[in-house]
């Protein structure tokens, strides 16, 4: 066989098309939705009930909104209310529809050098971390989780410029990579509960503080506005939304558990979306 023959064979072998016949739409979601394993449960059901193949782009909230603005996805499912409202106000999304919420937890070394375990609220816990100058790893990637964390520091009376110290480390990475970093450094961090429970490399880290209502984290679904991008599949996006707020989906979300712990609380309001 000559090289030319081989190359021709190679070309024929590799230029094959993958048939994706079902209706597909793209949705940008945050890492926690996927890392929790919830998407693995929901996607097959969505496919079964609606015939839609939902292609997930797993990114941070910042990037998800960017993809929506550019019209590269048909819908987004994120958790950062202010940014979402801005997205809708600017006309990139048609509206936001609340689907469910989960919560954030403070994770740190099991021996808890900063002593945050018995704090009354999240503000006190963060204050203790900053007072003891214990290492804290931040996402630092402009994601919904990162924005939430910054607002919590603010709430604890610690300004952003006070975080410019050597105990506060911005990883500039997704939840998983940040958990890996914190695990390696034995540092404190804030994680969504789902990612933490699913995380397989916990090392000496343990869950130290949770339960303050300020740590609740609302997820909303935003279809991309077809007025801005006429190619978006608004019909499919609407169909998916109807499925997500349906009794069946809400029940599936509420009963999803890891190690016996409930992760998401469904709170979609049936009927027409409010905002």
């Amino acid at each position: 066989m000559t090289i030319r023959g081989f190359l021709l064979g190679l070309i024929l072998a590799v230029i094959t098309t993958v048939g994706a016949m079902a209706e597909t739409m793209r949705m940008a979601v945050t890492t926690s939705f996927n890392n929790s394993g919830l998407s693995d449960i929901l996607l097959p059901e969505i496919k079964k009930d609606t015939g839609i193949d939902v292609q997930l782009l797993i990114v941070g909230t910042g990037q998800a909104l960017k993809l929506g603005r550019a019209g590269d996805v048909d819908a987004i499912l994120v958790h950062s209310r202010q940014a979402e409202e801005k997205f809708v106000d600017e006309g990139y999304g048609t509206y936001r529809r609340e689907i469910m919420y989960n919560d954030f937890v403070l994770v740190g070394p099991k021996d808890d050098p900063a002593g945050i375990k018995d704090s009354k609220n999240a503000a006190e816990a963060l204050k203790k971390i900053s007072d003891s100058k214990a290492a804290f790893v931040s996402r630092g990637d402009d994601s919904g989780t990162h924005r939430k964390e910054l607002s919590l520091w603010q709430n604890a009376g610690i300004n952003a410029d006070e975080l410019n110290t050597d105990w506060y480390r911005a990883a500039g990475a997704g939840m998983g990579a940040t958990l890996n970093t914190a695990s390696g450094m034995n540092a404190y961090l804030m994680s969504d509960r789902a990612s933490w429970l699913k995380f397989a490399n916990k090392g000496d880290l343990g869950l130290l503080f949770a339960g303050d209502p300020i740590l609740f984290n609302q997820y909303a679904y935003l279809p991309v506005n077809p007025d801005k991008h006429e190619h978006v599949k608004i019909g499919l996006a609407k169909k998916l939304e109807d499925w997500l707020v349906s009794e069946k989906a809400q029940e599936m979300i509420g009963s999803y558990k890891i190690n016996g712990e409930t992760l998401f609380t469904p709170n979609a309001v049936p009927g027409k979306p409010a905002s």
């Binding site: 066989m1 090289i3 590799v14 997930l56 550019a70 997704g174 939840m175 397989a200």
Partner: protein, 234 residues
């Protein structure tokens, strides 16, 4: 250490269990990278040959520039391709973003300079040898390029394999333009990045070993088919 052994063991289990998802990912990795190597070779090899036999004003600068492009940061290539293919970009209407085609485009851009540079080097050496002969036979430029490419085929194979090596292990660019979508654009490298993010180091390593095995297999088959490096021949 245990994680490495565990990873090896899981890689073995994955392969023998004929895990459908694994084979889908492996097949897509191969399809994207081999297509990119074929296209990049068709572009890079004639370019390398052309640069070797032509003398023009900015030849040195062109070659230096080409060599520098070998070090193109994949993330930057990915970002630029992304901006071009995005719905808001100049080629947005094609709807290519987050498809295997977009990944192939990014990989072609990354490996074409590499293949062209290595080809240029190989053909330059050969041209020094063939120069007088080909000139005296009054060959056309195109005939010279063809002769040189054919006679330098062993070195050009190395160039293609170097391109394959860079492309198959690449993650930065294809993560951005492919999006790592399950069942659509997930390949071995992006799956490894995803599993590492979940802290599943053993599974990530298992995929890594599959990737290394795949690279070895492709190189081996290429040598087998082109009948190079046999024990009985020099």
């Amino acid at each position: 250490m245990n994680e490495i052994l565990d990873g090896l063991w899981r890689a073995f289990l994955l392969l023998v269990s004929l895990d459908a998802e694994l084979y889908e990912i492996v097949f897509l990795s191969l399809r994207v990278t081999l297509t990119a190597v074929v296209i990049a070779s068709l572009l890079g090899m004639p370019l390398g040959a052309w640069l070797a036999i032509n003398r023009f004003r900015y030849r040195r600068a062109t070659i230096a520039f080409l060599n520098a492009l070998m070090g193109l940061p994949p993330v930057v290539v990915g970002l630029i391709v992304y901006l071009f293919l995005s719905r808001s970009g100049p080629f947005g209407v094609l709807g290519l973003l987050f498809t295997p085609t977009a990944m192939i485009i990014a990989q072609v851009i990354i490996i074409t300079p590499l293949i062209a540079s290595i080809s240029h080097q190989a053909i330059r050496d050969l041209w020094a040898e063939y120069h007088d002969l080909l000139i005296s036979l009054n060959t056309s430029k195109w005939q010279r390029i063809r002769t040189l490419i054919f006679d330098a085929r062993r070195s050009l194979l190395t160039a293609a394999l170097a391109g394959f090596g860079r492309a198959i292990g690449e993650v930065g660019a294809i993560m951005i333009v492919g999006g790592n979508i399950d069942h659509a654009t997930r390949v071995l490298t992006t799956a490894i990045a995803l599993e590492t993010g979940k802290g599943n180091f053993a599974f990530a390593l298992a995929l890594g070993f599959v990737l290394i095995g795949l690279a070895i297999a492709v190189n081996f088959v290429t040598h087998l088919l082109s009948k190079t490096e046999r024990t009985s021949r020099w």
